[in-house]
Symmetry: none
Subunit: 227 residues, 2 copies
């Protein structure tokens, strides 16, 4: 797909290899994202750069998918995803924020691409926003619940809340990161939308639609894996 065909053998030049790795990793993640979006499936990718740094992509996250995979046996053919909850069918896997900004008609191939990316950013922002909102609400509920039970919870409810806390903490971290970036360098971000969308430099990702990016384990102060 480039100026010329390339042999399918290891690129000998370290520099070129690194470049190839970066570009192809980006492409691969993008493909994975598309697959996840188009087919509404769970997927996880883990890859170690030539330098040994871990990069990962996952929808809805790496760990859930890996866990499900390793835990073979609990999976059945229910035709779709996981347990559906009472309300809000489709749950967080909904993906219908079109936000078409696309200028109709005579757009050059380039601007189309840009618009596409900007749409992606908007979608992500929206998703993060929703997550943040859900976060606050859920936190409130968790607190209330804990208070109501006077500190003595059943084992199960403890599990739920612990998981909840973990998840909430993580989501909050993401949201905060994203917002900081948005507030601080909105313009910059627009200019380099490609980066935000396609690379894992931004640890803020992780929308339910596109999955989470980044090589970080879920933990704060996640470093940015760079090569």
């Amino acid at each position: 797909m480039g100026r010329r065909k390339i042999e399918m053998k290891m690129v000998t030049d370290r520099s070129c290899r690194q470049v190839t790795f970066s570009k192809r990793r980006t492409g691969l993640f993008k493909k994975a994202n598309e697959l996840a979006t188009l087919c509404a499936v769970q997927i996880a990718i883990i890859v170690f750069s030539p330098g040994g740094k871990p990069f990962s992509f996952g929808n809805p996250g790496v760990e859930p998918v890996v866990g499900r995979f390793l835990n073979r046996g609990d999976e059945h053919h229910d035709g779709q995803q996981r347990p559906r909850l009472p309300r809000d069918s489709g749950g967080r896997r909904r993906r219908n924020q079109e936000l078409k900004l696309e200028p109709s008609g005579s757009a050059t191939g380039r601007s189309e691409r840009l618009v596409e990316e900007l749409n992606g950013i908007q979608r992500r922002i929206q998703l993060e926003k929703k997550r943040g909102e859900a976060l606050e609400k859920a936190v409130a509920r968790a607190k209330a619940s804990a208070a109501a039970e006077g500190g003595s919870n059943s084992l199960i409810s403890i599990s739920v809340e612990e998981m909840g806390m973990e998840e909430l903490v993580e989501m909050r971290r993401r949201l905060v990161d994203l917002r900081e970036q948005l507030d601080g360098r909105a313009v910059e971000m627009e200019a380099s939308s490609t980066l935000l969308l396609l690379s894992n430099k931004s640890e803020a990702a992780g929308d339910s639609r596109g999955g989470s990016w980044g090589g970080g384990r879920r933990r704060r102060s996640v470093a940015k894996w760079r090569d």
Copy 2:
């Protein structure tokens, strides 16, 4: 890349979605294979079909990569290489790469698979351990935070709350399942493994690893349609 541009939205038609999934999964794995080859890197992909069947690709194998990822640091070489085929009759895998085009659930009775499953159990234990640690920390933080604030607020959006809760409930369910199975299934696994290893009957399995992939036009079609 087809006759027409495709919207990045979930394909609504089940049939088309399945077709798209198959094609794109193939393409994705191929890309992964190229990346691994060109850059000599470790990579693993796990994806569940729309029907919930697991497919995976890994170089040098899924579990080594996942293990390395989960262990970040304290594991370099499992010491225990990839499970070796008793006799690699017929299919020759390229290098030591794993390529599963077949849902893990089908073909059975192969010592290799059992060894993999045993490894899987180990991984699960590790995974769970990790989660446990994460939970502890998260809980501690959450509690401290809650104690410090003592107030709750922000009822921004009710509609999205379900997202968060669904996620929490789902995560809890998985953890519980995992735990239940860890105790109950390990023995079963070991037993089966022993039996099969002794009879060493293996073979014949439709395990499609080894098919000509990287560049080969033709491939064994093993993916079951019925997801």
